[in-house]
Symmetry: C2
DNA sequence: TAAAAAATGCAATACGGTTGCAGGAATATG
DNA sequence: CATATTCCTGCAACCGTATTGCATTTTTTA
């Protein structure tokens, strides 16, 4: 996983984002962890960076498709860095599993989001497919 | 769509829920609309019923599988009445479409949630598959 | 180098969800 | 039938997360 600053910087620039200190830190953090993080998670990791600043960075990243936004049904939205440019095609996205016991959101890289055919007239822009239950660590509940 | 009180009452009793006035009203409202409603939606429709009361009714309904809980990525959870008993099998559930412009969540009854095969060790209990974009009414955005 | 624009941090706010508590209705018990 | 107990309800307070407004600092532009 790439993590040194200049690499992160290049990544940001390549995606049309000006590499400010905060943006580099947020991106780096998202790269180090390889599972979706919430705003609160990042706030802890990036202390003392301000929550609003992190929020705005994530907002920007999302608008430029640098992150996937995952709503796992926990009360907070999760963000996952998206390194490859073509992972916006739905069929390239993997599903996520939310463990109702340990509250972790896990990427199931092996399982891609299955595509469905929408009726006429709909314009599809994103998809959110989250499976819920108990993860292997938490057993049968 | 069934909507008179005695029918709703029978529905509740059949599912093991005591048919109190509030519960009947909430269930009826969910039946009248045939798309998922948020707590706030219901609060408006059922005025002057108390928010906490509606909340507790929904909580009860969810625990008894009388409603599907849908997280569409808007900030609020949506509830959709589930008339048939066997719609808890994932493959029986339909997908939902969230319009990013008009903020409505629409049931795509025709499109069932595709099943995926999880790796060993996971216990699947629920699934949330929401498509996002623009609905036919809102066009291409 | 001055003006403009962008990024940041702080504080305040909005919002949806949730809980504690007390009164009242329904139900069970003697 | 009277009383105890449980359940339901509404009110008000609270919580956590997301979001915004504004002033300050930093960067970019002219």
């Amino acid at each position: 996983m790439k993590s040194n600053s200049s690499e992160v910087e290049r990544f940001l620039v390549a995606r049309g984002v000006k590499p400010t200190p905060n943006r580099i830190l947020v991106a780096k953090q998202l790269m180090i962890y390889n599972h979706p993080l919430s705003l609160a998670d990042l706030e802890i990791e990036l202390d003392p960076m301000d929550r609003a600043s992190i929020f705005r960075v994530l907002e920007l990243f999302a608008s430029k498709d640098l992150v996937h936004v995952i709503e796992d049904g926990s009360r907070s939205v999760k963000y996952e860095i998206c390194l490859s440019v073509d992972h916006h095609h739905i069929s390239d996205q993997h599903v996520h599993f939310y463990c109702e016991k340990c509250k972790e959101t896990i990427c199931i890289e092996d399982v891609k989001v299955p595509e469905v055919k929408l009726p006429e007239g709909y314009t599809l822009r994103a998809v959110n497919y989250v499976l819920k239950g108990f993860c292997p660590k938490c057993g049968k509940g």
